[in-house]
C-alpha cells in the first residue's frame, strides 16, 4: 500500500494510495461471496481496475465455524492496471476464528484486520482448534487489529424491525461491508440499489440490509475507529464503456454473440458440474435471443444432444469440467468423425477424479489435445483472463463453423469465478461469422471438401435432395459412405489432421510481450497470464531482458512459435500442472525449456514467479 499524500480531514486522516487488496473471509453461510462481489462492483463502477479471486469450499455448508467451511473473496483494486488479485492482503475481514486462522498468513505486516469480536467465545475457538484466543494472546501484535462486535452492533441497528435473531445475524456481512466502504471512501449507492432489487419482494429484508450497511458506515464515522481512511483514484483504462465481468459470464455472452453474428440458434446441452454450471444458469436466461438450453441426464447425453443439435443446424455447445470431460471422450471422437461444428468448454478444476471441485488447475491440457481413442485431433483454445473468455467464445465458434470441427475451450475455476472490468465492444469490433448451409443437390457429396478449409458441407435435415447418412464408422473420402479400405483410412486420418492444421492460416503470428529477444522467454497459457504479466513487468523494470509469449491457441500452435523459442537463452514454462505445455513444447520444438509447476489448487503468486525467474537468470 504505497502512500502518495496525506490530507487532514477532521481528526481522521485520509491517505491517497494507488492500490489495495482486501479479503473477506467467513463461514460459507456468512455471505462472503456476496459481500466481495458488492465491494467489487462498487469499486469497478468508480473506475478502479480490479482483479478478484473468490475461493470457496466444495461443501455447501461445512459445519459452522470450522476451517473446512471457510469461504473467502479477495479483491485487488487500483488506480493502475492490475493483473492479479494480489499476493498478500492489506485488509482482512475475518468473521470467525477459523477464517482468521486460515487467512492470517496472507495479511501484510501492519495490515488492517477487522474481526467479528462476537465470534471469539471459547466454543468458537474450539471449532477452529485454537487453544488460546488470538485477540488476547498478542499473536496479532504486528497487525492493526479492529475487533468489532458485528453481531451485537448489527442486532442493535435492526432493533424493532421485528426480525428474529437468526435473520438479523444474517445481515452482519453488510455491516462489515459498510465499514469497508467507509474505510475506502466509497459510495453505498450501488449496493443499496442491489439490495432494493434483490429483495424487491421482501421489503423487510430491504430495510434490514440497508440498515446494516449504513450502520457499519456510521459506526466508523462516529467512533473514528480507524483513524485513517483511504482514497484510490480511478484507473486510467483505455477509453470506452466498461462493465464488470466474470469468466463464466463472459463465455455465456460470447456464445450468444457468436450465434447472433452467425445467424444461428444457440443450443447448450449441459449437465451441472462445478465450476461450469454458471454458464448453464446464465444462458438459460437468454431465451429472448432464442437460446435453447437442455439440462441433460448426464454428461454423455449433454454432448450427444449437442452433436444432434449441430447436425440439425444450430450453433451447439456443451460445458463441463474435468470429470465430465472424461465422460464426453467417446462422443468427442464421434464429433471428429462426423466433422460437425460444436464447442466444448472445459472449466478445469483440480483432479484427478473428483479432485478439488472448487479449486483451479490447468492439468487437462494433454487430455484436451490427446484424450481420445485413435487419431482424433481437435483444436484447443484457452482464454487468458476473465474478460478474454468473451473473445475466446466468439473465436471458438467461428473456427468450429468455418472448418466444420469440434473445438475445445480450456478455461479454469480461477477465470470462471474471477472478474475484471471489460470494455464493451461495439458491434463492428466483433468479427462476422459467415455460415453456409448446403442447398444444391447437384453434385452434392457429404464429404466433398472446401479446398481452403478442408471443411465438409453442412447439409442439415429438412433440405430436399440432400438426404445422406453419417456416423462413427470410417468414411470413404468424398462420398462419406462406410469404408474399411486401408489406404482410404490412412488418407482420412491425414485429412482430419490437415484440417485442424489448416486453422493456422487464421492464427496470427504471436509476438511476445516485453523483449523480442534476450535472456529469458516465458511461455504460458490460460489463467496464469495475469500473474506472469505482472511479474515480467517488474523484472523488466529492473533491466532484465525477458519476453512473454502467452498462447491462446494450443492447437494448432501459431506457426512462428519455433522461431520465437530460438531468440532467448532460456525458456521457462510456468503452469498449474506437472508440466503439460512444457512437454508439448519440448516434444515439438526440441527446446530445452524448464517448468515452474504448482499444483495446489491456487493461482501463482507473483513472488513465486519472481523467484524462479531470478534463479534462471542466475541472480
Amino acid at each position: 500500500m504505497s502512500t502518495v499524500t496525506e490530507v487532514p480531514s477532521g481528526k481522521v486522516k485520509r491517505a491517497v494510495i494507488d492500490q489495495a487488496v482486501i479479503r473477506f473471509a467467513g463461514d460459507s453461510g456468512d455471505g462472503m461471496q456476496v459481500t466481495g462481489s458488492q465491494f467489487t462492483n462498487t469499486v469497478a463502477l468508480y473506475g478502479n481496475d480490479i482483479a478478484t479471486f473468490p475461493d470457496y469450499p466444495a461443501e455447501i455448508r461445512a459445519p459452522a465455524g470450522t476451517e473446512p467451511g471457510v469461504s473467502g473473496f479477495q479483491l485487488n483494486f487500483s488506480s493502475n492496471e492490475v493483473h492479479t488479485p494480489g499476493d498478500a492482503v492489506d485488509v482482512l475481514v475475518a468473521m470467525n476464528p477459523a477464517a482468521l486462522k486460515v487467512n492470517l498468513g496472507d495479511l501484510k505486516p501492519n495490515g488492517i484486520l477487522i474481526v467479528n469480536a462476537d465470534s471469539f467465545r471459547e466454543s468458537d475457538l474450539r471449532k477452529a482448534h485454537l487453544t488460546a484466543n488470538p485477540l488476547e494472546d498478542h499473536s496479532l501484535d504486528k497487525f492493526r487489529v479492529f475487533p468489532v462486535e458485528l453481531q451485537r452492533l448489527t442486532r442493535a441497528a435492526l432493533e424493532h424491525l421485528g426480525l428474529d435473531a437468526k435473520a438479523m445475524d444474517r445481515c452482519k456481512n453488510f455491516f462489515a461491508l459498510g465499514m469497508c466502504y467507509w474505510l475506502y471512501n466509497r459510495s453505498m449507492e450501488p449496493t443499496v440499489r442491489w439490495i432494493e432489487d434483490k429483495f424487491s419482494k421482501k421489503p423487510l429484508l430491504v430495510e434490514a440490509n440497508k440498515r446494516a450497511l449504513k450502520g457499519g458506515y456510521s459506526f466508523c464515522e462516529a467512533t473514528e475507529a480507524f483513524q485513517i481512511s483511504y482514497e484510490i483514484p480511478p484507473a486510467r483504462l483505455s477509453p470506452g464503456l466498461y462493465r464488470n465481468l466474470s469468466g463464466n459470464q463472459a463465455l455465456a455472452l460470447g456464445f450468444v454473440t457468436a450465434a447472433q453474428k452467425a445467424g444461428l440458434r444457440l443450443f447448450l446441452g449441459s449437465y451441472p458440474i462445478t465450476p461450469a454450471s454458471d454458464i448453464l444458469h446464465e444462458l438459460s436466461h437468454y431465451k429472448d435471443f432464442g437460446v435453447l438450453t437442455f439440462q441433460a441426464e448426464d454428461e454423455i447425453a449433454a454432448i450427444s444432444s449437442t452433436i444432434g443439435a449441430s447436425y440439425a443446424g444450430a450453433l451447439a455447445i456443451t460445458t463441463t469440467s474435468g470429470p465430465g470431460m472424461a465422460l464426453k471422450t467417446e462422443a468427442l471422437g464421434l464429433a471428429v468423425m462426423t466433422e460437425l461444428p460444436l464447442v466444448i468448454c472445459n472449466i478445469q478444476r483440480g483432479g484427478p477424479s473428483t479432485g478439488l471441485p472448487t479449486k483451479t488447475e490447468q492439468a487437462d491440457l494433454l487430455q484436451a489435445l490427446f484424450g481420445r481413442n485413435s487419431e482424433a485431433p481437435i483444436p484447443v483454445l484457452a482464454p487468458a483472463t476473465p474478460a478474454d473468455c468473451f473473445w475466446i467464445a466468439v473465436e471458438a465458434s467461428r473456427v468450429a463453423l468455418k472448418y466444420m470441427v469440434p473445438v475445445i475451450v480450456l478455461s479454469d475455476g480461477y477465470l470462471a469465478n474471477g472478474a475484471e472490468p471489460w470494455r464493451i465492444p461495439n458491434m463492428e469490433e466483433i468479427p462476422g461469422i459467415p455460415v453456409h448451409f448446403a442447398k444444391d443437390p447437384e453434385g452434392f457429396q457429404p464429404y466433398k471438401r472446401d479446398p481452403d478449409t478442408l471443411g465438409r458441407p453442412w447439409a442439415i435435415p429438412g433440405t430436399p435432395g440432400l438426404e445422406h447418412r453419417i456416423g462413427g464408422l470410417e468414411k470413404q473420402d468424398v462420398t462419406g459412405n462406410v469404408n474399411y479400405e486401408p489406404l482410404n483410412h490412412e488418407n482420412m486420418v491425414r485429412i482430419r489432421a490437415a484440417k485442424v492444421e489448416a486453422i493456422t492460416q487464421d492464427v496470427p503470428n504471436d509476438m511476445p510481450a516485453g523483449d523480442p529477444e534476450g535472456d529469458l522467454l516465458i511461455v504460458s497459457w490460460g489463467s496464469t497470464y495475469g500473474a506472469i504479466t505482472q511479474s515480467v513487468k517488474g523484472q523488466r523494470a529492473k533491466g532484465r531482458k525477458i519476453g512473454h509469449l502467452h498462447l491462446r491457441y494450443l492447437n494448432p500452435l501459431p506457426s512462428n512459435v519455433g522461431d520465437i523459442l530460438k531468440r532467448y537463452r532460456r525458456v521457462l514454462v510456468p503452469e498449474l500442472n506437472m508440466g503439460q505445455l512444457l512437454w508439448v513444447l519440448r516434444a515439438k520444438y526440441l527446446v530445452n525449456a524448464v517448468g515452474l509447476n504448482k499444483i495446489q489448487g491456487r493461482p501463482f503468486k507473483q513472488a513465486e514467479l519472481d523467484q524462479k525467474i531470478e534463479e534462471l537468470l542466475g541472480l
Binding site: 473506475g47 486510467r236 431465451k287 435471443f289 441426464e297 461495439n426 435435415p461 430436399p464
Partner: protein
Amino acid sequence: MTTTALPQLTKKDFQTDQEVRWCPGCGDYAILSAVQSVFPELGIPREKFVVVSGIGCSSRFPYYMNTYGFHSIHGRAPAVATGIKIAHPELEVWVATGDGDALAIGGNHTIHMLRRNVGIKVLLFNNRIYGLTKGQYSPTSEFHKITKSTPYGSPDRPFNPISLAIGAEATFVARSVDIFQAHLKNTLKAAGAHRGSAFVEILQNCNIFNDGAWVGLTEKDARSEHVLQLEHGKPLVFGKNGDKGIRRKLDGDIEVVQLGNGISESDLVVHDSHHPRSFYAFQLSHMEHRPGFPTPIGVLRAWDHLPRYEDVINEQVAEVIKKKGAGDLAKLLRAGDTWEVK
C-alpha cells in the same frame, strides 16, 4: 396461398444403394421392409425424416434408409435424437436400437427420453442376445441362459422392455413381431401417428446366435395359444378358437378364463389403450411372466395428451420473446452496471 400436393412417395424412395449387410435370414430384413413400406404412407416429405441409431446389428439401419441418417455411438441415439428434436422440432425422428443398445449401455437415455416425452419414435429390435459381438447375453436374455459369456447360465434377471417403458411414463408403448408383417406395419403406422415419445418393441429373431428367440410365440401352433393381440375397444380374447379371455378380478388383478359355461365376452376386460393412467397397460405388460397367461402384442398404451418436450422448450423461448421482444445484442452486452472511461 396455394398448396402443393406432396409427391406420392413409394417404398422404393426409401431404399438406398448400400448393400444390406445383415446375416441372411436375420429378422432385421423384415423390419427394414416394413419401415420402408410404412414411411411413404405417413404423408411426410422424405427430407424431414431422420433415422438415428446407436451401435449393434440393428443400428446399421440408417444406412439402408434413404432419409437423413445418423449412426451414432453405443447407447446414445436417444440423446443425439433429443438434440435434433430440440433444435429442429418439425423433423420426423426415428431411432433404431437393440436390446443391448437401448437397455444396457443406453438405458439411462432411454428412460429419460421417454419421461420427457420427446417426439421421437423408438424401434427396439429385441433378439435377446448380443449379435455384433457374437453371442453374449443381453438385458433381455432369459435367466440361466447359456451364452458365450455365461457358460453356466446367465445370473441376470431380464428387463421387460414394455414394463420399463410404461414405468418411465411413455405415452405410446407397443409390441410387434418381425415376421408378423401386417401387424408390424399397422403398429408402425400407429406409432407414426403419435406425437409424443413412441416406444415399439419388435420381437426379432437372430438366426445365428439365438435362433428361435421367440419361437414360443411365432410357431404357427403356438401363436394363437400364447399371443394376445390387443385392439382398442375389443375384449381381450385369445386361444386357438378364441375361447379364452382375460377377466378382471374383484381385487383389481386379472385372470385367464375359459369362455363358455356362463362366461361370455361381455365379462372380459375391454382393451383401452387411451387410458390416461398407465397402471392398466403395466398390468398387461406383466402377463407374460405368469403361468397360463398370453404375451400381449399390439398397442398397449397410446395416450397422446402430454406436450412434447421440444415444444415445451421452444414455446418457452417464444413466450419470452413475445413478452420481452427479440433480444438486442448491443443492449445485452451493455446490461447491468456500466461506467464510462473517457
